[in-house]
């Protein structure tokens, strides 16, 4: 691997002096839930932004790990990449929440059905449980009669 370069597919290189604010404005801003027409449009934007953030982080890494970069600039680039990492985390969280909401909606109908089945199973077990008590009583009576016989 070339010194200081990140092994990535070929991409356009930006100017070396990319500031934090330039990086933020260069990316499509993450959309809030109320901004778009529907969930599919929002998710497509989230996916595009996730890819863009990944590319932006990789480009930032190429710049900040350049051996010829002064140390002060390298620290500035560290701050910039932390901002991108935070954006990445927010987006992953938003995407996960979308999936969780769908999972919750999918699971609700089966809860009632499962509860109904468990009630039936309890009812089917009831006669056996009742007879178990009677069996214990009979065992107790046997023991009592055995002891009575010993006197």
């Amino acid at each position: 691997m070339e010194k200081g370069a990140i092994n990535r597919p070929a991409s356009q290189t930006q100017s070396e002096q990319t500031s934090t604010s330039d990086l933020r404005t260069a990316l499509p801003q993450p959309l809030s839930p109320g901004d778009v027409a529907g969930p599919s449009a929002r998710s497509e934007s989230e996916q595009q932004t996730l890819t863009d953030i990944r590319d932006a982080i990789a480009e930032c890494d190429t710049l900040r790990l350049d051996p010829s970069l002064p140390e002060a600039d390298r620290r500035d680039m560290d701050a910039a990449v932390l901002t991108l990492r935070n954006l990445e985390r927010e987006l992953i969280e938003a995407t996960s929440e979308t999936l969780l909401d769908r999972l919750e909606a999918a699971s609700k109908p089966l809860e009632d059905l499962a509860r109904d089945i468990r009630t039936r199973v309890t009812a089917m077990n009831a006669p056996a449980k009742a007879l178990e008590h009677f069996k214990r009583l009979a065992s107790l009576a046997t023991r009592i009669l055995r002891e009575a016989g010993r006197w």
Binding site: D61, E104, L113, A128
Partner: protein, 309 residues
């Protein structure tokens, strides 16, 4: 007289068995098919929650590599702190996902329970036990010197065995009716839930999350290596070993997802086939249904092994 009573009792019992057996809406093979269908299916339905958990673990590991590539102590501190906080938030996501998929698992486990042999065997066992205990009580009573004639023993045990057999046949008919109603009534909901689960697993969001983890792992490790090279530090051997392990895990994610989708499809098809056969009053389980159930169990075993790694 006693002989006539015993004969009447046995004839009545046989008639009861015959009537209840003919009333049963399902055959033993069909109930067994339902039991086999639900044997391992809860493994498949918990896959979305496990995928979240695996991706969270991968995210943390690659994040630590990335944190080590940062040049300033302050930046590294902030990154590691953010990783820790995100990891804790991810645990909450995994817990929520596990809670939601538990509804699917509740249905599968409940159906497995209602179709199990224990539902009808338990009552028979208890009745036989009662017959034996009553005989023991009579035997002990006869051993006492009460001055009365001995009560004949052996009949209670025999009656217990016969009644147990009748009770087991009755319970099998009750079980058959319950399983039939549950499968037929629940099939629409099960199909909808399976479709929803499959859609979630195949969704663009899940796809993108998996792809993101796979590509970001490579990028983050490359940054880590570049940073070490810049500082003139050697790469620890264990880092490479960990990276290889993480690569293996990320490459498995699409396989897990695809196996779960296949298994869910298999479960949905087998459940629908059973419901259709039950509704049509068929008593036999076709060969292709057994093959579907077997395929499902094999897929479920594969998924279980992948999820546990």
């Amino acid at each position: 007289m006693r002989f006539v009573t015993i004969c009447n009792f046995l004839i009545f019992s046989l008639l009861a068995v015959f009537v209840t057996a003919s009333c049963s809406p399902l055959s033993k093979a069909q109930i067994e098919a339902v039991n086999e269908l639900t044997f391992r299916s809860d493994t498949i339905t918990r896959s979305p929650a496990v995928l979240f958990e695996k991706m969270s673990a991968l995210r943390l590991e690659r994040g630590l590599f990335y944190a080590a590539s940062l040049s300033s102590g302050r930046a590294r501190y902030e990154e590691v702190t953010a990783l820790a906080e995100t990891s804790m938030d991810d645990e909450s996501v995994v817990r929520k996902a596990s809670g939601y998929v538990d509804a699917f698992n509740s249905y599968v486990r409940a159906l497995h329970s209602v179709s199990a042999d224990a539902r009808w065997k338990g009552l028979g066992t208890e009745i036989r036990g009662v017959g034996t205990r009553v005989d023991s009580v009579l035997y002990r009573y006869n051993r006492l010197d009460t001055g009365y004639d001995d009560i004949p023993t052996g009949y209670a045990r025999m009656a217990g065995r016969v009644l147990a057999y009748v009770a087991e046949e009755v319970m099998q008919a009750v079980q058959g009716r319950a399983v039939r109603n549950i499968v037929v009534v629940g099939d629409t909901l099960v199909a909808a839930s399976c479709d929803s689960l499959m859609d979630i697993l195949r969704s663009d969001e899940m796809d993108e999350l998996i792809r993101h983890e796979r590509e970001s792992l490579r990028d983050n490790y490359a940054a880590y290596l570049a940073a070490l090279e810049l500082r003139g530090e050697p790469v620890p051997f264990e880092s490479d070993r960990l990276y290889v392990e993480l690569l293996r895990r990320t490459d498995e994610l699409p396989d897990i997802r695809n196996s779960c989708v296949s298994a869910l499809r298999s479960f949905k098809n087998a459940h629908a086939r059973l419901a259709a056969d039950f509704a049509a009053g068929k008593k036999e389980v076709p060969e292709e249904l057994w093959e579907e159930v077997l395929r499902l169990n094999v897929l479920a075993a594969q998924v279980s092994e992948m999820l546990e790694n």
